[in-house]
Structure formats: C-alpha cells, structure tokens
Symmetry: none
C-alpha cells in the first residue's frame, strides 16, 4: 500500500494546510489556536499531529507553499511575450492580489508570515527565499527592459528590481489595510509617474 498511502498522506496534508490557511488568514498565527485548525479541518487533534510535527511545522509548510504559488504567479506575469509595459505588469500583480484577498484568501497570510518571520529566526529563511525569488524575477525584468531600450543602459538592474519589489508587499499591505484601491489605481498611478514629464 505504498502508493495509496503516499497519496492519502499528501491529501491529508493538503486538507490540513487548507484549513490552517483559512484560520491563519482570518486571525493570524497566534490568534488561531490549534483547536481552531482542528475544528476547521474536521479531523482530530491526533490526526493533525500525525501529519505535522507541530503548529510551527504547519506554519512553515504553509509559508513554503504560498511562497511557491506567488513565485509562479510573478514568473508568469514577468515572462509574458512580448513584454507588457511596467504598469501592466504591476497592474496584473495587483489584480492577482485583489483576487486572493477574500476573507480566507491566501494573500492575507502574507503580513502574518512577514511578522512571524521577523519574530523568529527559524521562520526567517522561509520568508526570505520567496522574497529574494520575487526580486530575482524583477531584476530579470529590468534586464529585459534594458535590452529593449526601455531603461537606461547604465541603470543598475538590481537597484531597479529592488525598487520594483517594494510595490509588491507594499500593495498587499495598503490593500489589506485600506481596501480602497485596486489594480486600476496602480495602473493609472504608474502610468502617470512613468510617462515622460508633462510638458
């Protein structure tokens, strides 16, 4: 029963992670008790602990999985051919954020994950790597822009990538806290900022 067992195991882990995500997205890691996660999952306490060593283990697994999907998302967006204008790229990202910011949405995990990572060295790496990965995509994007002549040849692609990266967590925070902006806001704001100076 190896194959079946493995599949089964993976499904159980998924089920647990989904429940945990919903809880954590709603109330954060510390406000959600394991009891909450257990109830949401429909499993028993013992069952949960058969699949995950501890609450921190669940958090780490969740962070990894979420980071992975964010990474894929940004990769898709930045790799489009032909390269869309910058405002379109960040606009698509903003739209994806908005789409995933429902009450249980995965995006709501992000601020809790950043906070947790800054509070505990064990989680820090888990949060750095996806952030570094996102930046790598944006640095690559800057390089493409240089190649296509959309960016000065002497610009530092790393600096440009890092600067663009600010938008990503920044939009998440602003959107989740204030909620009165959307992808169009970003597109229009960026369009105005990036346009050749008004004359």
């Amino acid at each position: 029963m190896p194959k079946v067992s493995d599949e089964h195991l993976e499904m159980r882990r998924d089920q647990i992670l989904e429940s945990a995500r919903a809880c954590f997205a709603r109330k954060g890691f510390h406000q959600s008790s394991m009891q909450d996660v257990i109830k949401e999952s429909g499993l028993s306490a013992g069952a949960i602990y058969r699949y995950f060593k501890s609450k921190d283990d669940i958090i780490a697994a969740l962070a990894a999985r979420t980071a992975g999907s964010l990474d894929r998302l940004l990769e898709e967006i930045t790799a489009q051919e032909p390269m869309p204008p910058l405002e379109e790229i960040l606009g698509q990202y903003a739209a994806a954020v908005v789409d995933n910011a429902g009450p249980d949405g995965a995006i709501r995990l992000a601020p809790h994950a950043w906070s947790a990572a800054l509070a505990s060295p064990e989680l820090l790496d888990g949060a750095r790597q996806p952030m570094a990965g996102l930046r790598a995509h944006l640095v690559r994007l800057a390089e493409r822009m240089q190649v296509e002549g959309l960016l000065a040849a002497d610009a530092d692609p790393h600096a440009v990538g890092a600067t663009l990266l600010c938008f990503l967590p920044g939009f998440v925070i602003q959107y989740l806290l204030l909620g009165d902006i959307d992808a169009r806001t970003i597109r229009s704001g960026l369009h105005a900022l990036l346009a050749p100076d008004a004359t």
Copy 2:
C-alpha cells in the same frame, strides 16, 4: 513615593512604552510576554498595570505613538521647499527607515502592527488611520507635482499617491527581510525608472 509630578507619570509611561517597543520590535507582540516587557522595563508587574490597562492597551498606545512619528517624518520630507525630486523624497524616507531598523528600532514594530491589525478588528482602525494619513501626504505631493508641471495635468493625484504609498511599507518589508538594500538602491532604481525612456 507620594504624589509625583505629571512629568514623572509621563516619563513612566514613556519608559514602559520604550521597553515594550524594544521587546515587541524584537519578537513581535505575541512572542513577547508581559514578563519580558516587565523585565525590560525594570519595573514590577503591578507598576506596569498602573499605567496601562492591559497588554493590548500598551500595543495600542505604541502603535499610536509610532504612527504619529512616521507621519511627522513623512510630512517633513514631503513638505520640503523647493520640492525635491521624487527619487530624493522616497530616498530620504528609505534612509529614515534604515536608521530606525536597528535590533530594537521602531520600524521593526510596523510589520507586527500590520499583522496584528489584520487579525483583530479592535486594532484595525489604529493601523488604518496612519496609513491613510501617509497617503494623504503623498496625494498632496502629487498635486504639487502637477502644479509644478512634473506630472501630467490629467493624472489622478489620488492614484499617484496610492501608487507611491506602496513604496513605503514595501521598502520596510523588503529591507527588514532581506536587508541588502538601502536608500541609495531606491534612489538609483527610481532615478532609472523615472528618467525619460532611454534613447
């Protein structure tokens, strides 16, 4: 110690808030126990609770105070005359973030505060108002830019302000997690992005 001046009282509150800030900045709100704050402050449990009703009360007071100082900072930066270029404005902000991101630095509170606000309706307002205040400054900045012809006359200042606001929390998150950027990175990245397209 009998009747004591109002100053003294205010100083005690400060002392407690400073200790709490150090603890919370290091480990977040939930990982820091009141015992930690108490030890850090050098006072006793009872003394703390003479000045603050609860741990949440301390958190709220701290959030308010920190928000206030961030607001003043951005106001100073955006109100400079003559208006510095955008890259300079955001660069100065980034520099201030870096300056306040030491191990106990006030800036390290921000991600914890955002996370906490998203986890508890009671704290939400406390985090929204400063964020909205920061945006107001940036919207005003956009209006000034329009007046000075640095921004298209038909641009929406609100959209531009919201877009710029993404930089602020975004830089905080990126800097605290990755740490390998600084104000120069932002200045140079923005300079490249805002320059008339390379030709």
Copy 3:
C-alpha cells in the same frame, strides 16, 4: 482516551463538582483557589476547564445542584402522610442539616452561597429560586395545617410559611457557628413553644 460515554462525561462533572464542593465547603468560594479544587479532584487544570467554563460556572452548577437536593429533602419531609406535627417536621429538617454538616458537607456551602449571592447580581437569582421553592413547600404545609384544623382558619398561610422558613437558614447558621444544638433541641424547643400555654 478517545470517545467516551456520556456517562463518563457526567461522572467527570460529578467528580469535579464533588471536589469543588469539598473545597468550597471547607474554605468558602474565594479562599479556595482553583489550584485547590484541581488538586482535590486529582485532575489537571486543563481537564477541569473542559467541563466548566470558569470558576463561577462551577459555583453556579454547585449551587443549582445543592439547591435541588435541599428542595427534594424538604419536599419529602413536608409531604409525609399523615402530616407529622410541626416540631417533627422541622426536627427532621434539622436532623438532615446535622447529617450533612460534616467537614466537607453540602450544608456548609449554604452560608457561602448566600454571601456570594448577596455580593453578585449574577448569582442572586440562583440563590433566590431555591429559597422561594422552600417557602412554597412551607406555605403548602400551612395550608394543610389549616385544612386539618391545626391552624386558625383566618391565618395567612403565606405569612406562616415565611415565618417557618426562617427556621431553616437560621438553624443552619446557628448550628454551623455554635454547633452545640441538634434536632432534639429544636424538637423540644418547638414543642414547648407550640404547646398550649402552660396553665
């Protein structure tokens, strides 16, 4: 220990209430810490709180249960056929009080419950109802006495019932504080008082 019978659950509640009763009877509600109750019960803190929401919850459950048993007792005593003389009825009640006034006895709860009820509106109703119930029995008794010609036809059964009710808490207090009286004292005292005037 997985799923367990409802009986078991009820037994656990009983076990906890019994332990609490012993503690509270000995030292009152406030002098008994939850630690005391926990130690007495042989369970852990967490186990107690699986069955009761709070210390107050335990107190309320205990009060309800004790009130119920007092009520049943007085009902049995007053409903006897043929109706015993008054001195016998109150004498039996006094005997029951004495029987239940051992170091951990249920009767020792009563003064603490009265005190607690007078100190907190939440508990007040819980103490009033049993007292009103006891009086109802005694009012009924007075009515029976009228029917049987043992009480003047124009007597107010409510007043007689209320007057008789004084004996009950009064004996409890006197017995617990002084301890040098018993059922015989009451029987003999009442016999002398109720007898036709000496001539």
Copy 4:
C-alpha cells in the same frame, strides 16, 4: 497631645470602619478590594494601614462592632417591661433588620461575616460570641416566660432559646434574598403559630 491624639485616632478608625462597612455590605469582603475601601474613605492607602494592621483586621473590628450593636438591640427588645408577647419581640427584631438592610446597611454584613467565619478559624470566634450572646438573651427570655407562666414549667429554656435564635439569622437571610417579607409577616405568622390550636 495624648487625649487629642486618642480621639483623633478613634475618629479615624471610625471613618475607616464606616467606609469599609459600606463597601463590604455592598459587595462582600472579597469582592471589595482595599482600593475600594480606600477610595470610599477618602484617605490614602498608607493612612489606612496606620490604623489597621490588615484587611482582616478591619473585618474583625467591623464584625466586633456590628455584633455589639446587634447585641444591644436584642437586649433592649427582650428586656422590655412588661414583657411583650413573643410575636412582638421577634417582630421588633425583624423591623430592626429591615431598617438596617439598605444598600450599605449594617445588616448586609451579617451573611458575609458568617461565611467568612466559617471559612477561617481566625474569624470564627469573632462570629460565635455574638451569636452565643444573642442566644443568652433568648434563653433568659424563655426563663422569664416560664416565670410568667407563658411556658411549661418543664420546658428547657436553653432549647427554647436556641429554637428562637433560629429566627434571627433566618429572617436576615430570607429578607435579604427574597425581600418580600417584613415585620408584619413575622408577627402575623407567629401569632397564628403560637395561638392555641384552632377550634
């Protein structure tokens, strides 16, 4: 300054005891914090502790004082010449209870004092003596009744006194908890009970 000082001291003690009585009567001994007593008294914490060694000391002093006044009251009532009928004597006592059962009334202390006495050996004696004293008055009353031929010559005055004593705390408890009775209820109930059997 000996005399003045002594008077002053006694006045301060009175002031403190009055405040404590009000607090304790309202909320019981344990629900009233020293802070409550301090605020009510208008003095400072330090001042209170100059006049009383501890909270328990205040409670004991208060119990003694209250007991004394109850004793005097019952003495007056039972010593009247010519001896009023029993229903009148207990009726007067009931009236006095009602008079002193206002929100801060001294009578409201009694149940708390009984509860406290049963919970702590140190306070027990303080509550027994007044109760024993009250009984002594009632035993003497029974003896007078015998002398006047109102009680069978072979009745045991001690048993009669103890039986009558039940009325006193019993009325206090019933009145404070239910509140729907008064001196008239007692007079009328006793009148009916003590009257020669209806015929």
